[in-house]
Symmetry: C2
Subunit: 331 residues, 2 copies
Amino acid sequence: MGERGLIEHIRRRLPPPPPSLVVGIGDDAAVAVAERGALQVLTTDALVEGVHFDRRFSTPADIGYKALAVNVSDIAAMGAEPRLALLSLILPPALPLADIDRLLDGLLDVAARTGVTLAGGNVTRSPGPLVVDMTVVGSVRPRRILPRRGGRPGDSLYVSGTIGAAAAGLGWLTEHGTLGSELPEDPEMADCVARHRRPEPRARLGALLGRTRTASACMDLSDGLADAVRQIAESSGVGARVAAEALPIHRGAAGWFGQRGVDAVLASLSGGDDYELLFALPNRARGRLRLVERQARGVQLTRIGELTKDKGLVVERDGAGEPLPPGFVHF
Amino acid sequence: MGERGLIEHIRRRLPPPPPSLVVGIGDDAAVAVAERGALQVLTTDALVEGVHFDRRFSTPADIGYKALAVNVSDIAAMGAEPRLALLSLILPPALPLADIDRLLDGLLDVAARTGVTLAGGNVTRSPGPLVVDMTVVGSVRPRRILPRRGGRPGDSLYVSGTIGAAAAGLGWLTEHGTLGSELPEDPEMADCVARHRRPEPRARLGALLGRTRTASACMDLSDGLADAVRQIAESSGVGARVAAEALPIHRGAAGWFGQRGVDAVLASLSGGDDYELLFALPNRARGRLRLVERQARGVQLTRIGELTKDKGLVVERDGAGEPLPPGFVHF
């Protein structure tokens, strides 16, 4: 099947587009009606085989899922709502059509759950590894954006969900797992593997934090919590203090790191791929946060520390301070 | 230099962003003010080493130039104006920073000339070939779009510039050239090589054709003129008749193909990478076309045939008809 045939095959698999999509797949470019009065939010992120995923550990459906999820996560971290996606598929020789179909399954699953329309893209062959490169365009009202730089001394730092699960899940896969092998018996550990394969982008939470003007700054944890704390603090020109005891370390991750004699606090702070949101909360917005919590459909929000006037980046544990560890390095 | 360092290096090289860019490179996503009342136009296209370019034939600056030019060409083919670009750079091991800088030189050259702001992107390493994947977002007024499907029987077919040059240029490079070697002595042939390396996207012409509602359908020649004629005709549910004698075959290409005993008409119809525009012109819009021609800064426009009620796709030569050849297949 050639490029055109494959594009037509993909087009046929899509759900009916919304009326706002004026021109969809199959023309030189897609054309869409923009939300009136909203700002455009644009992000792009690529998953490269051998760097961001391993086909022994993730199914094609997992890869498609994650390719869109990580981009939706970036849109959420700006307080925006994702609208349209473009898929750039760079295919190694002899990737079966069935694998492309499963990749689309995973991608369309995330699209349906986050209200994203696959509006266009590009397909090309390559002598190299599989690359799934996606662009997502979202929208946000002016003054509802959540940039990294908005934090102020005294703002509380909150993180959604739990941390460390994706890193522990990848660790388990590297030690035991290939596709088709049994998942861990421990359900907490099985959840870690699932979180590595299919992170849940916090689309609803991010949009709520923006819309209600609850957070002063926000970022996703693609490169780990320590990195996100550092980025928000540095962009905002402040420091940060994180309480080790408060960190919502995933139970499976705590067990996994503990059994290996690894410091679970440091490993969970440094581990990447969690795709939770870190945000700064001004004291005046505490009431709004309770409102957001009620509407965020059970996503746990944990206060882990605060931004400080002093520019140091400190983890407090057992009454002593230690430096914030470095973030996760993909590169 | 890691991912963050490289992104910061790229950011420092950019010209000051326009006020419409609210958040640029360095946050989770870029944020921009959209043009009021305009539709969003979105396209993505990747250049893959070994498929779309050969580093023996094109400099890093040529590759950066072409990566943006081919996307701007897609926006132009919709009658829209390009506004923002995202760059996804997938880097093989040990690509020198100087090469990335030259790639940016070429890219920023096109950006400056076509009014595009590099608003964000992503950088990742890869075990495979260099991939430069770009997304361009443009805008167009409602009812000014030029889709492929708008052609009607009796509309004239026009093509901009000349055809065949890029294919002949690539042919010359494959026979003689590596970087650093002399360019062809014949200036026409040297122009063919230049057109392969640095195609001129018809940004101004496309936007004019849309804004003035001159064309009923439009497409760029990324996969060759024959392919573009076929796509416009099939999408519009009509046929097409092309006059071989009318084709604006580049003089260098005509000579190159002629010397090799290759039919220059067929080779120029089938050859890809010209990035000219093919458009359909309703008879009532002839007056407007003269206006467009005056404003298009010397871009030659040639009537090459017409759309027909009969669904055949015919090249007329010496009083006889032959079938339209297939398009250029990258895939």
